[in-house]
């Protein structure tokens, strides 16, 4: 199966690989996985408590090229966004941007899950009321 140029680019030059301090109050960590492929993905965000803007994002993914590219892209996209804006990112946006084939769509779902999990963790740490926006995304 051929990967799109964008997937190859993110795979060869992943953006924002790394770790943020998990115990810091302004950091949210999302750890998610798709057992079907044995993928595991960690995405972390650092949120400015004054503005709710995501100022930094890091990821580490063990999985296929599409999973790495999806999480790399996710960190690029959440940076500079507010928490609410980041929650609006849907897997279909990732699919479109990376031109993922149908069999790799679950990688984009995993990246969306990771963003949500990281934000959920940050909210919990900072006692922000949990709202559950319903994403209307297709596979």
């Amino acid at each position: 199966m051929a990967y799109s140029d964008k997937v190859v680019d993110h795979y060869n030059n992943p953006r924002n690989v790394g770790t943020l301090d998990k115990s810091a109050s302004e950091v949210g960590t999302g750890l998610v996985g798709a057992p079907e492929c044995g993928d595991v993905m960690r995405l972390q965000i650092r949120v400015n408590p004054e503005t709710n803007v995501i100022e930094d994002a890091k990821f580490k993914t063990f999985g296929c090229g599409s999973a790495i590219a999806s999480s790399s892209l996710a960190t690029e996209w959440v940076k500079g966004k507010t928490i609410d804006e980041a929650l609006a990112i849907s897997n279909t946006d990732i699919v479109k941007e990376l031109a993922l084939p149908p069999v790799k769509i679950h990688c984009s779902v995993l990246a969306e899950d990771a963003i949500r999990a990281a934000i959920g963790d940050w909210k919990k740490k900072n006692s922000v009321a949990e709202t559950t926006p319903v994403a209307v995304a297709a596979h």
């Binding site: 750890l31 996985g33 057992p35 492929c37 580490k60 779902v109 559950t132 596979h139």
Partner: protein
């Protein structure tokens, strides 16, 4: 013709502990019955039907012979598509308007992530040209640990077969459901471990 399950093809109850020797014998007996030579003088439609049945028989045998595939197949009959779990969880969450629940327990994700990190470090050191006996020893230790975890998962899976089979025999639906959930969790764990084993073998050049 209604579609038979793989178990039905072999006239077996849907159980997980099966007599593989008997299965093989039965497979050869059924194969002979469907052999193309026996249909050479028959109309084309019958020949085609025998060929289709023969191909289904082969699929059934391959699936039931393999312990993991057999388990996955039975779970599919019970409505759990292992390959569709993430998607099913996403769909369920969206339908209910709730936050999606991860299908893998956080402890397993933590463990797998940590093991992958350690392995990645060792592989990075190897790529840097470090080829010290110490590094190789570390990788071998990791390999042994992963192999042991695989064996452990397999043993646990087999004990769930027993739980499933006896619950199925006695019509204990709650027991079946428990065994089913436990098998799904074990197969998921196994799928992560399999990748770790593959990666460590790769790093060792095995």
């Amino acid at each position: 013709m209604s579609k038979q399950s793989y178990f039905e093809i072999f006239e077996l109850p849907a159980r997980l502990r099966i007599d593989t020797v008997a299965l093989e014998k039965q497979f050869y007996a059924l194969s002979r019955r469907l052999h193309p030579d026996r249909f050479a003088a028959r109309p084309a439609a019958e020949q085609e039907a025998a060929l289709a049945q023969s191909s289904q028989l082969n699929d059934a045998y391959r699936t039931l012979k393999d312990p993991v595939q057999r388990t996955q197949y039975l779970l599919a009959l019970e409505g759990v598509e292992m390959e569709e779990q993430s998607r099913a969880a996403t769909d369920a969450a969206r339908a209910a308007g709730e936050q999606k629940k991860q299908i893998v327990p956080p402890e397993l994700l933590e463990e797998v992530f940590e093991l992958n990190m350690q392995l990645a470090e060792m592989r990075a050191a190897k790529e840097m040209g470090e080829d010290e006996p110490e590094l190789r020893r570390d990788l071998m230790t990791a390999k042994d640990a992963f192999d042991a975890k695989m064996v452990e998962a397999q043993t646990e899976l087999e004990s769930q077969w027993e739980a499933w089979d006896s619950a199925a025999d006695s019509g204990d639906d709650a027991g079946k459901a428990r065994a089913k959930d436990a098998m799904v969790a074990l197969l998921n764990r196994r799928s992560y471990l399999r990748n770790l084993v593959r990666d460590v073998n790769d790093a060792l050049g095995l």
